[in-house]
Amino acid sequence: MSVARRTFIQLGAGATVGILFTPTVWKALDDVSIWTQNWPWIPTLKYGAIENKPTVSKMCESGCAVKVRTVAGEPFGTMGNEDNPISGGGICPLCANGVQVKNSPNRIKAPMLNGEEITWEKAQEVVAEKLAAAGSKVAVVSGDQTGTANEVFSALLADKGSDAFYVMPCDMQAADKAWTGLMGGTGQIGYDLEGADLVLLAGADALESWGPTVANLKSFAANESGKFIFAGPMQTKTASVTSKWVPVPAEGMAAFTLGIAYYVLQAGKTADTADFGQFKAMVMSEYSPAKVEAATGVKADQMAALAKQLLTASNPVVVPAGPVAAHGAAFALNLLLGGAMKALPEFAKAIPSAMSRSEMLKADILEGVEADLLFVYEANPAYALPEKIKAGFTVAFDMVQTETTATANLVLPSPHPYERFDDLASPYGLAAATYSLGAPVCESSVDASNAATFILGLADLGFESFEEVIGAKTEAIGADMDALQGGEAYVVEGQTPMAASLAANVLGKASVPVKGTGTVGLAPYTLLNVGTANQATTPNAPCTISNNQLIGDHMVVMMGSATAKQLGVTVGAKVKLSGGKGECEALVQIFEGVMPGVVAAPLGLGHTVGDEFSKGKGDNVYKILTVSSEAAAGASTWAGSTVNVAKI
């Protein structure tokens, strides 16, 4: 037995030594380490021809002209489009994430009727029925500011004898109300930020979220000699690069502008309008620097200095934001200065019966919407306008699930901008009328269909598909389809603005600062990476959202140390902001770039529906905005919102 054992041991020893003289062991070791380099659960890459296909992306409010990068036909990235003036090679953080949103599990996969998946044919029937029943009590809320899809929707309304076309509240609307409404001007106002030698951004956060942001940034960069000044309640990202920040409360912006106009008039500037004298008298008497200083807290000499700079500048421009009055005042000032403000001609319509853009901007959504049948086109009123919309039956078109689609009766999936025909007609703020077009760069990954095409199936508007409408549009404006599809834009220069009046009496009344009753003023601000009223933040963007907006699941509000002392709160303190009809929870952050007596809160957080990147992150500031009506201007505004702050 002992022999056997020993033999066995020797055999084993021999075997062991033997195997070491073969590649076996070493090969196994090597292969194992290679295995750790290619774990099966780590996704692998796709290879093939790489192309950059031009199109438009409409995730940000003004839209970006982009090139979608594809490998073997599969989109993987988004880059800017040098050939297009609204991009010049750059894009915004939202559109930079376009492909990821396109592939998001949050996409709506198929038509849903009250939570039940249905076919497009069925959807067509349902809506047709509702449409017949609703008669003229049909309304449309559109989140699209630049698309020809709006023409289709408005044409449907016209067909039904309704004029209830609403856009989400935006500066384009306020500007139009002031310009065409109050001052009897024509065209769409634009600002030549690249050509101007002095730009006073009167509340317009132009280098972060206002207007055609990317185009603004491009102009800012190109405008080496020009001087940019930002006026507003907080030191926005715009203010971090402008040469100066003038602290002005949002509700005081109109008065502040007229305060500057005071010196400009004093210097003998005139405008060729019927009521110029009246206007001058009004400003001189009611908006003397002393009065403005008393009302807004902005030092008279500060306004004097600004006026001086504007007067010495050869091509200055004032860029307003917020209430109608602020826009009116700024336009008046621009007319006096005769600088880089432009009036853009509107592009010809593709559908004769459709509304003009100005007509689309008339209705005021803040006053509430009521209809039997409501179409919501890629807008999210349920999130940004709580309790403003009432409808018997709501049809929501969107590509991803939102608060609105969650509450709508019928949800119809839109193709992602990269999967459909769409266009960008003169985003508000550009100095020239600009038309860009987007064709699909890939097939839709879900059972989606273009909203406008669906609408065309409901009424005879002379077109079968939205693609045809786009074709008609390009024809109507006289642009070259191939050039447009190649990514170029069709551009018509803006003209010198002509106004019938300076709306003296209206501005006189409407420019008086109106403030809520809360303990501190509320300065809501928009950061594109946090999201807009219609588009929540995107998968990769949260990494770019700083802890000054969001910590964990808590929204962060910023205030100066003085305000913090006044409120008796410190950094990191958890507070409840109450204003309007709602409340918000937030953590306190000290930021000396906020005016005393003001709390700055980021818009776009606190979604209750959506993907893991936006849902339950922070709180929704739209809940605590107060709507005050600009009686004189016949409009309503969020400016002058105040809140009460309580520690919790």
């Binding site: 020993r6 055999l11 030594v17 195997i19 073969t22 090969k27 196994a28 093939g48």
Partner: protein, 249 residues
């Protein structure tokens, strides 16, 4: 007592040698083979038929794109230039026949005109192979998942453009040094003007039935996947950089 003698007699060496030899043989002859499993290409593709038969040259399928990248395997788009079956037509035909478009066998049995009329092959086997390709991939809009004998993982960036100038003739001088990097037989006889043989299957253009793809069961690599040291050896010999980022991504 008995035991002692026993062990003395064979000195403990004999069994040792037995064991040693046994595993040596196993380790060299048998085990290495066990690391690999054979896989056939998704469809039978005969280079011979296309090159000799149809007189195609390499570039008609394997070419450089304008951006300098290399189109290794041809896409359906390229194949469809000859295999002119219109997917939409075919799919309609399938729909008419009431066949499930994913039921390949049924489609092939049905011998639909929309497909058959556009098949080019002469003999039956080839015809079947072509039909298989058309039905399973072309009309389905799916690219063929060809198996790459020279497969490299995602962390490797191989540039065909930077290697296109290499000539087998010049390299013949390094035949000895390269013996375990390049198959020596490549340097024998008249050197072709193209250098594909250096790394790819020798004279693949004349191949009729592609060999099986030998997949490493642990790493998933191809048996003929070039190892890092081989790339480095040649780079060193040719005075090319061996910096990490020369080849990795």
């Amino acid at each position: 007592m008995e035991e002692r003698k026993a062990s003395k007699r064979c000195g403990g060496v004999f069994p040792f040698i037995i064991g040693f030899l046994a595993t040596c043989v196993l380790g060299w002859a048998v085990i290495p083979g066990l690391f690999f499993e054979n896989e056939e290409q998704p469809v039978w593709f005969s280079h011979a038929v296309h090159v000799e038969g149809q007189g195609l040259d390499c570039e008609s399928c394997h070419y450089f794109r304008d951006d300098g990248t290399y189109a290794g395997f041809p896409t359906n788009e390229v194949c469809a230039e000859c295999h002119a079956v219109d997917p939409e037509e075919a799919m309609e035909a399938i729909a008419e026949e009431g066949i499930d478009p994913t039921d390949y066998d049924a489609i092939m049995q049905a011998e639909l005109g929309a497909i058959e009329d556009n098949l080019a092959s002469s003999d039956d086997d080839m015809l079947q192979a072509e039909r298989e390709y058309v039905v399973k991939y072309l009309i389905q809009g799916k690219e063929v998942p060809w198996l790459n004998y020279q497969y490299q993982p995602d962390n490797v960036y191989f540039s065909h453009a930077s290697h296109m100038a290499l000539s087998i003739e010049d390299l013949a001088g390094l035949k000895k040094e390269l013996s375990d990097v390049v198959d020596p037989s490549v340097f024998e006889g008249e050197a072709p003007e193209q250098n594909c043989n250096l790394c790819h299957l020798k004279d693949i253009q004349a191949n009729n039935v592609p060999p099986a793809f030998e997949r490493n069961i642990l790493s998933g690599y191809s048996k003929t996947t070039m190892k890092m040291w081989q790339c480095e050896r040649c780079h060193a010999l040719k005075g090319q950089p061996n910096a990490c980022y020369t080849c990795h991504k």
